[in-house]
Symmetry: C2
Subunit: 214 residues, 2 copies
DNA sequence: ACCTGAACACCGTTCAAGT
DNA sequence: ACCTGAACACCGTTCAAGT
């Protein structure tokens, strides 16, 4: 009794969707399942969700539900993945327009602003994502997503003439990313009041972090 | 089906320990239960823990276990509480010696260092705390703990002559606290390599945050 | 008085039987 | 072929019966 195996007999083999969505109809069902799951997550919380309740809401049987996803974790994973992809897409836009910025400070400002705006828009689902964070598979997804963002950041820093080597670049990007993430969450939490001031404070911290390396 | 009730019939009335530990023997049992739970958390993960496994490890029956704690969540809560208190105690020491510091920068440096050292010492249990974070009661405990730390920080800032009003003080303390927390986690994660440099970067960010208010 | 563990209520997952 | 939902395996919690 010493290795980290969940030791449950329930099948958790794959967390991927079961049938490839060749037909538009099947894809629609997959999406519907995620929509319903998101709604239930909101109304009954992550502990209140049951596979039967999801199936019932869709007017299909549990067995049918298991045609689309191999298990409950897979459904939650797919939902998390959809959210993460949405975020990535939003932020990618900043990077694609990197030519717009003449210096790093300008980039930092827009980057911060976009992230906060996005978190604000998704205010309702943030606690849900947080609740799902307990699921190891979701955590892994999030880490992959982070790696992508870190690579982007490191690239942008180099583009603006950062004088750090590769290892250092990775390290700074990590601190930059984590700081932006946690402060954006805090800013979104504090319901509008003085949020612009907080955003300025975050920018100041980020610029101070980068100052030594430019 | 719209309010956020867990809707389970399991009794979750109180999360406090059941019998007041009047006798030293009962207190010892309470501690033993938490010790065993921490061990199991480490070996089988939070999803692998069962009340029966805890009882078995203690050589008592499940029924007996329920004499000491009203339910499984209460046990995990008590464990989290023990950890949080340990942390609070460690950090309180910095505040009690506030007179040692002539300026805010000196305070920031020691504060950062103590926090990182503490996280390093608890490296093993940090992922466990993170896993427990999914439990709403644990989250609440953590928030209470945070409020305490924030009050401390705001006080210290004022002591060193911070020119911010009460609302602003709270806001800055929050950003300070969150940034320290997330960066310390990141620093501890990166296994020693270049950690001292990261610590310097964190300090620089914190000082930049405070600069406008002193 | 105190402890035990079978029994009950749930929920995730499967698969034999229906269409 | 596809869907159904009773059945099975688990786990948290209780409480009648034992000491």
């Amino acid at each position: 009794m010493n290795t980290n195996n969940a030791a449950v007999s329930h099948s958790k083999n794959s967390t991927a969707a079961r049938r490839k969505p060749r037909q538009a109809r099947a894809q629609k069902r997959h999406d519907q399942i995620l929509d319903i799951t998101a709604e239930l997550l909101d109304s009954v919380g992550i502990d209140g969700i049951t596979t039967i309740s999801i199936a019932k809401e869709l007017n299909i049987s549990v067995g049918s539900l298991y045609h689309y996803y191999p298990n409950k974790v897979a459904i939650l994973c797919a939902l998390a993945s959809r959210w993460l992809n949405e975020m990535t897409r939003t932020i990618s836009a900043v990077d694609e327009n990197i030519a717009e910025h003449s210096d790093i400070a300008s980039y930092v400002k827009v980057y911060t602003h976009k992230i906060i705006a996005m978190y604000k828009r998704q205010r309702g689902i943030l606690p849900l994502v947080q609740a799902m964070y307990a699921i190891p598979e979701v955590r892994q997804l999030d880490e992959q997503h982070d790696l992508l963002m870190l690579a982007r950041l490191a690239n942008a820093f180099k583009h603006f003439g950062c004088k750090a080597n590769k290892t250092e670049l990775e390290r700074i990007a990590r601190i930059y990313h984590e700081t932006t993430y946690i402060c954006s969450m805090a800013i979104v939490d504090q319901q509008g009041r003085k949020a612009s001031r907080s955003e300025a404070d975050l920018n100041q911290m980020l610029n101070a972090l980068l100052a030594n390396y430019f």
